[in-house]
């Protein structure tokens, strides 16, 4: 006898239950996604969208668990390429910030007085090492790497087919691939020397993009949980009628609101840069990462058993939250960066630099 059916013959588990694409049924303007191997199907926000618009798109991508590197491309890779003065390739992009690589100039002996300075006749690099857990590397048309060359910080691009790719994934099975460069020559046309500030901006951009994704996934947890507790009945009443359920649900909502507020607060400062950008982004990622535990705990608790299965979309949000909180700096990393410049006299003026 089939254990998946009950007496009436109605399947307990719908036939398409394990086809995760059904959960993306509402993906429209921002992302039309067929499957993870067809990233070209993702319509990215246009290039001249404002930071606030891009953050809203990233949040929406997090909410829908869009299987494509939308935030990575739009908020991190593209702006960094533009800031470095490199052309922006079409399609999904990824990034690696300050990976451990061995970088030498590719033509050190050719000429001692080229445009690269004393070390070579041009800025072509010879790069050895591994880029670890690069988001969506297998699907990216290019990976933007920010690293330190003998002359100082550089930004360069490579295409995944130039490397040996070891596939990997995070808790949500989003691609996090290792790229082995053994060794790889990067032509000077793909290399730009950058300021240390741009390297720091890259960290801020990646952290804020990740925070926006977290905000969206947290909101998905709210939506799914409220829908569930209003629809599911126990003891003859919807779960949402029980005080104990209300108390937990409210905390979930609050935590999600908090993350959203923190992300929004950083939108304008990210464009202007400086101390305000540093403070608001560090606060956003600290808050987003720190809130993930409470959001996922409550959402799962109120869903009961169905929430821990693939019968229900909750896992799309919670597994992402568990990974995203660690990616691009966890709350401990960002809390340290946030706290280090604070003194008794600086704290309040810092808190009030943004409205």
């Amino acid at each position: 006898m089939n254990t998946h059916t009950i007496d009436t013959g109605t399947p307990v588990i719908p036939a398409d239950a394990y086809d995760t694409t059904v959960f993306y049924a509402d993906a429209d303007a921002i992302a039309t996604v067929t499957n993870t191997t067809a990233p070209d199907a993702v319509a990215l926000p246009c290039q001249d969208a404002s930071t606030a618009e891009l953050l809203a798109a990233a949040q929406e991508a997090g909410h829908r668990a869009v299987p494509a590197p939308l935030a990575e491309t739009a908020l991190v890779a593209r702006p960094l390429l533009r800031r470095a003065g490199l052309p922006v390739p079409d399609g999904p992009l990824s990034y690696a910030i300050a990976p451990e690589l061995t970088i030498r100039y590719a033509h050190p002996a050719a000429s001692p007085v080229g445009s690269a300075g004393c070390l070579g006749h041009d800025d072509s690099l010879l790069v050895t090492g591994t880029l670890r857990r690069v988001p969506w590397a297998r699907a990216a048309t290019a990976v933007v790497v920010l690293a330190t060359a003998p002359s100082g910080p550089v930004l360069f691009t490579l295409t995944p087919d130039q490397a040996i790719l070891t596939p990997g994934g995070n808790l949500a099975e989003e691609p996090r691939d290792d790229l082995h460069l053994a060794p790889l020559e990067i032509p000077a046309a793909q290399v730009r020397r950058i300021s240390p500030e741009l390297l720091d901006e890259a960290r801020l951009r990646a952290a804020l993009a990740r925070s926006a994704l977290i905000a969206g996934a947290a909101e998905r947890c709210v939506d799914l949980t409220v829908a569930h507790t209003t629809a599911r009945t126990q003891f003859g009443r919807p779960l949402s009628r029980f005080q104990a359920v209300k108390q937990e649900e409210a905390r979930l909502i609050e935590e999600a609101a908090l993350v959203r507020a923190a992300v929004h607060a950083a939108a304008a400062p990210l464009d202007t840069g400086g101390a305000a950008a540093h403070f608001t982004v560090a606060a956003a990622k600290t808050q987003a990462s720190a809130s993930a535990a409470e959001v996922t705990r409550i959402a799962h608790q109120l869903h009961g058993a169905i929430g821990i299965t693939r019968l229900n979309p909750l896992h799309l949000a919670t597994t992402r939250l568990w990974s995203w909180r660690d990616e691009d700096g966890d709350e401990t990393y960002w809390a340290h960066r946030l706290a280090r410049p604070l003194t008794a006299t600086a704290l309040w003026p810092t808190l009030t630099t943004t409205p």
């Binding site: 509402d26 429209d28 921002i30 809203a56 798109a57 929406e60 909410h63 909101e219 709210v222 939506d223 409220v226 829908a227 209003t230 949402s240 005080q243 209300k246 108390q247 649900e249 409210a250 905390r251 909502i253 609050e254 999600a256 609101a257 908090l258 993350v259 959203r260 507020a261 923190a262 929004h264 607060a265 403070f279 608001t280 560090a282 606060a283 956003a284 600290t286 808050q287 720190a290 709350e331 401990t332 960002w334 809390a335 340290h336 960066r337 946030l338 706290a339 280090r340 604070l342 003194t343 008794a344 704290l347 309040w348 808190l351 009030t352 409205p355």
Partner: protein, 390 residues
């Protein structure tokens, strides 16, 4: 959900008026002067515990009490967001603002909205001058969360009302001038319908104010016995029978302000001062960072509610959300400060030192999540607000 449907947890964008920057600088300069005078001591919970009528009057001279009231009633005619800037500066500095707190936050706006022209002309200029201090007379012994069950009665007399009953936990009744009292005027079928608000002179015959001491020993609130107090017709606030509507209409103002997350902020300043003595540990940095991120995020939500109020809406759900988050943070902050810098809390230590401030914040801590509607009740409002949108 599409990006165009406003999320229930979305708050409006916050744009502080250009004037706010100047205002903030002016308030900081004023606070420096007051610090030099010895009146601003960086104490926690200063909106409950810092009663200083001189300070209130000097603040009023700058136009910073009742500042959102129209100029024709002696106010400064400024917006909510400007008022927000002023009060958050005062609270962060731990300034003694409790004398005028209720007048400024609640009584003034309420009289402006519901009062008669005569009441406005009589009370508002005095409030804005820092000369008229109000208390809130809502709670009773048997009516806390279930406020609509109040049993204080107002009986009709020839030219007014006679009030009988006992209000509990009435903050400042022993030092303030008036209380806004919620009383039953009709035994209506719908218990919400029979309630009305009265402005009661706390020095009137028949008012007996009995001290209630906090566990710290402080005398901040009272039992106010109304033993047949005659209140003239002119002191009915708003319409007879509208008391409940009026009380609940004020909630968004009452619940979302900076006093709902900054009560223990001065303790964090004190902690940072202590941490400057030696290099902080990794754990101390982490916790300070986490607290600061949360403070910043809650402040943004709170400002979002202020922006919504400024735009004329009544974001009750969001206000409840801010208050639950903020008041829980006030307690968490105290617990965290204690755990990352182990110091025995000492109420007898020199006032203003870290052990004394910690003791003060701890002894006040259970109140943060009770006053103005308990957090359990707030969470009920939040989930109801969200379900109604579905």
């Amino acid at each position: 959900m599409s990006p165009s449907t406003p999320s229930p947890i979305a708050f409006p964008d916050i744009v502080l008026p250009e004037s706010a920057r100047r205002l903030r600088a002016e308030v900081r300069a004023f606070l420096d002067e007051e610090r030099a005078r010895g009146t601003v001591l960086g104490r926690p919970d200063s909106w409950l515990a810092g009663w200083d009528d001189g300070f209130s009057r000097r603040l009023a001279e700058r136009g910073w009490v009742g500042m959102a009231l129209p100029t024709e009633y002696g106010g400064a005619g400024r917006g909510f967001l400007e008022r927000y800037v002023v009060i958050e500066e005062l609270l962060a500095a731990g300034a003694p603002v409790s004398a005028h707190w209720v007048s400024d936050r609640q009584a003034g706006p309420s009289i402006l909205q519901h009062g008669t022209e005569e009441q406005r002309r009589f009370f508002l200029p005095e409030i804005a001058a820092g000369q008229c201090f109000f208390s809130i007379g809502m709670s009773e012994k048997s009516s806390g969360s279930d406020l609509a069950s109040v049993s204080t009665r107002a009986q009709r007399t020839t030219d007014g009302w006679r009030l009988t009953g006992t209000k509990m936990w009435t903050g400042g009744a022993h030092v303030n001038d008036y209380a806004i009292v919620l009383a039953r005027t009709d035994d209506a079928e719908d218990r919400h319908a029979g309630l009305s608000q009265f402005i009661v002179d706390l020095r009137a015959p028949g008012v007996r104010v009995e001290p209630i001491h906090l566990m710290s020993g402080e005398h901040r609130f009272n039992a106010v016995h109304l033993e047949g107090v005659d209140v003239p017709d002119g002191m009915l606030l708003g319409q007879q029978g509208d008391g409940w509507k009026q009380v609940t209409g004020e909630l968004a103002f009452e619940r979302s302000g900076p006093e709902r997350y900054l009560s223990t902020f001065p303790l964090l300043i004190s902690l940072l001062r202590e941490l400057e003595q030696r290099p902080p540990t990794a754990e101390q940095l982490t916790q300070v960072g986490v607290l600061t991120a949360r403070l910043h995020s809650i402040r943004r939500l709170s400002l979002g509610v202020a922006a919504a109020l400024d735009a004329g809406s009544a974001p009750d759900t969001q206000a409840a959300l801010v208050k639950d988050l903020g008041t829980r943070l006030e307690g968490t902050l105290t617990d965290t400060v204690r755990s990352i810098l182990p110091t025995p809390a000492d109420p007898h230590a020199t006032p203003g030192t870290h052990p004394e401030l910690l003791a003060f914040a701890l002894l006040h801590s259970p109140g943060y999540t009770l006053r103005g509607g308990t957090n359990e009740i707030l969470r009920g409002i939040i989930t109801r607000g969200l379900e109604q949108r579905r």
